[in-house]
């Protein structure tokens, strides 16, 4: 049921145009920095147009896209993150630019962003699926951009390809089942009608959920994330941790809505959340690589987010909103600091031990890194503190005692490994390295400062980020009427 409207959020359009231009530019004359600049410009333009759309949405909600506050909010987050990531990778020394041009890199980034935005705005399985795959395939490309040591990037990409293909298959199978049951591709859980056994819609929902869990890397489906993030260049890891997660979480919320979930979903979510929080945290304890640790941390944060997702109520919307913001800002901050830390010849900051004594040699970086990590751990004055507070509030409001227990234990374990990094930074520097006093690239400096300011200001004055943005229910309440019409 594809309506013949042209309802389209303008941002998508802008991005498409921008990507086309970039493609054309590649064909014409290759230049890395022009490519980056075009990408940045496009993203900026898309950000400006984020509230706009072309065409008129059909009344029955049968459009391909939907644009509401929630979508806009996550779109802004995604585009902002993409800009940050582009900035990080612009002159990233980890991208070996001596051997080849990397003007595909921004192009792939833009494509990924486009995919993410498509997911966010989609109101139909079709754009959702397209967006998911655009994002996924561009990520495969992006992951391989690591040149030093290159083989790990390829290995990561290979793993990602196979596993994400598998999860896509599962997701698609689920969508197919749902379509088969309801006959509609609307982006909502299937509801049993007619003579089809009730197991089918349930199975469909589960398969879709599993597909989403894979992308979200919730715990038994999380394993790819660590390897892929470690294998990927640092900015791409950030992309994986932030952009793709926000997009998929946004879709998850849109798909399942914010109300009470059906009981079988509840049970599964319960288990998955606990597994995710505990698994992510425990896994983080043994990591020596910072990117892997951040992968674990992002797994854990997904678990926390899911708590809020599972606790519908007055506080839910605000909690999810602020938590997404907190997670985005803090994680990006950490990655930005890592990028700033990396040198072309020295350590690239992916191993925790390399950060030893940073507090003495490069206090600015160390301070901002500590602040970001503390924010991730949920300690004032970072925004993460308030975010975790809100999550806990939703849990308490809905009396999810088990989940709260997991939250507490997880937070304490999390505290340990976050603090451990800070501890390493504070221990006395092992060697008085002369190369340590390099100045940081200005755009990264600016980025780190901006993110720090966001984290602190957001932590001190979180009220503005608390607007109820979530869709009240996934699709307006005329669902049932439509169902009966059919």
């Amino acid at each position: 049921m594809i309506g013949h409207d042209v309802f389209l959020p303008t941002s998508l359009l802008v991005l498409c145009v921008g990507i086309t231009v970039m493609l054309a530019a590649t064909a014409w004359r290759r230049s890395t920095s022009r490519s980056f600049l075009t990408g940045m410009g496009t993203l900026l333009l898309a950000l400006v147009f984020v509230g706009h759309h072309t065409g008129i949405a059909p009344d029955n909600g049968d459009s391909l896209f939907i644009q509401d506050q929630w979508a806009n909010y996550t779109a802004i987050l995604i585009m902002f993150s993409s800009m940050c990531i582009l900035l990080m990778s612009w002159r990233n020394d980890a991208n070996d630019r001596t051997t080849s041009l990397v003007d595909e890199y921004p192009l792939l980034c833009m494509l990924g962003t486009l995919g993410a935005l498509t997911m966010v705005f989609s109101a139909n399985y079709m754009p959702f699926f397209l967006g998911l795959e655009i994002l996924g395939v561009s990520l495969m490309g992006l992951v391989t951009f690591r040149h030093r040591p290159a083989i790990q990037g390829y290995e990561a990409a290979m793993k990602y390809l196979i596993l994400s293909g598998m999860s896509s298959a599962i997701l698609l199978f689920g969508i197919g089942l749902a379509y088969g049951v309801t006959g509609s591709l609307r982006f909502m859980p299937p509801i049993t009608i007619g003579n089809i056994s009730p197991a089918l819609p349930v199975a469909a929902t589960i398969m879709i959920l599993v597909g989403m869990f894979f992308k979200l890397s919730a715990v038994p489906f999380h394993m790819w994330l660590l390897d892929v993030m470690e294998g990927a260049p640092v900015p791409v890891a950030a992309f994986l941790a932030v952009v793709s997660k926000i997009a998929i979480f946004s879709s998850l919320v849109r798909y399942f809505g914010t109300g009470n979930q059906s009981p079988f979903l509840n049970d599964i979510l319960y288990i998955v959340i606990i597994l995710t929080i505990m698994g992510g945290n425990l896994l983080a304890l043994r990591q020596t690589s910072l990117t892997r640790l951040l992968a674990c941390s992002s797994i854990t944060h997904v678990g926390y987010l899911l708590i809020a997702f599972l606790c519908p109520g007055r506080l839910q919307s605000g909690a999810i909103t602020i938590y997404l913001l907190a997670y985005t800002a803090s994680t990006l901050g950490v990655f930005a600091t890592m990028s700033a830390f990396a040198t072309s010849d020295g350590p690239d900051g992916t191993v925790i031990a390399q950060w030893k004594g940073l507090f003495f040699t490069r206090p600015f970086l160390a301070s901002s890194m500590s602040l970001m990590l503390l924010s991730l751990a949920g300690i004032p004055p970072g925004i993460g503190f308030f975010a975790k507070f809100e999550i806990a509030a939703t849990g308490v409001e809905y009396q999810r005692n088990l989940l709260l227990g997991a939250l507490i234990i997880g937070s304490i374990i999390g505290l340990y490994y976050y603090l451990n990094i800070i501890r390493v930074m504070m221990s006395a520097p092992s060697l008085p390295s002369a190369s340590l006093n390099r100045h940081i690239r200005p755009e990264l400096m600016a980025l780190v400062i901006v993110l720090t300011v966001i984290v602190v200001i957001g932590g001190l004055f979180p009220a503005r980020a608390l607007h109820p943005l979530l869709p009240v229910s996934a699709i307006p309440s005329d669902t049932e009427t439509e169902m009966t019409m059919r």
């Binding site: 495969m140 896509s168 298959a169 006959g183 990591q287």
Partner: protein, 103 residues
């Protein structure tokens, strides 16, 4: 009127899907894993076709086309990556050996 009922299609698709899944799980050769992935994707595509037929809806066929495209893309990218891996010195196509990323 479809010759096969939706349920039959579904059964076939499920079998195909399981075969593909089993292939991914069992085969160690990356090429075969890619092929198994294709089988899984095709199983999903089959469901769409069947469902489209059931509801007399074109959307199922559209999805089928999209899935085909996806399968093609995955294979293409996958092969490219395998080539690269090989070029960078990974000796075999065995997915279980020579993993650097773990732990």
């Amino acid at each position: 009127m479809p010759v096969f009922s939706f349920n039959d299609t579904l059964l076939l698709a499920t079998i195909l899907f399981s075969v593909g899944l089993a292939g991914v799980l069992i085969r160690r050769n990356m090429l075969f894993m890619l092929m198994s992935l294709d089988i899984m994707l095709n199983a999903a595509a089959l469901v769409f076709v069947g469902a489209g037929a059931r509801w007399h809806d074109a959307a199922g066929q559209v999805m089928f086309l999209l899935i085909l495209a996806l399968a093609a893309v995955e294979t293409a990218v996958g092969l490219a990556i395998i080539l690269c891996l090989h070029a960078r010195g990974r000796p075999t196509l065995d997915a279980d050996t020579g993993n650097l990323l773990q732990g």
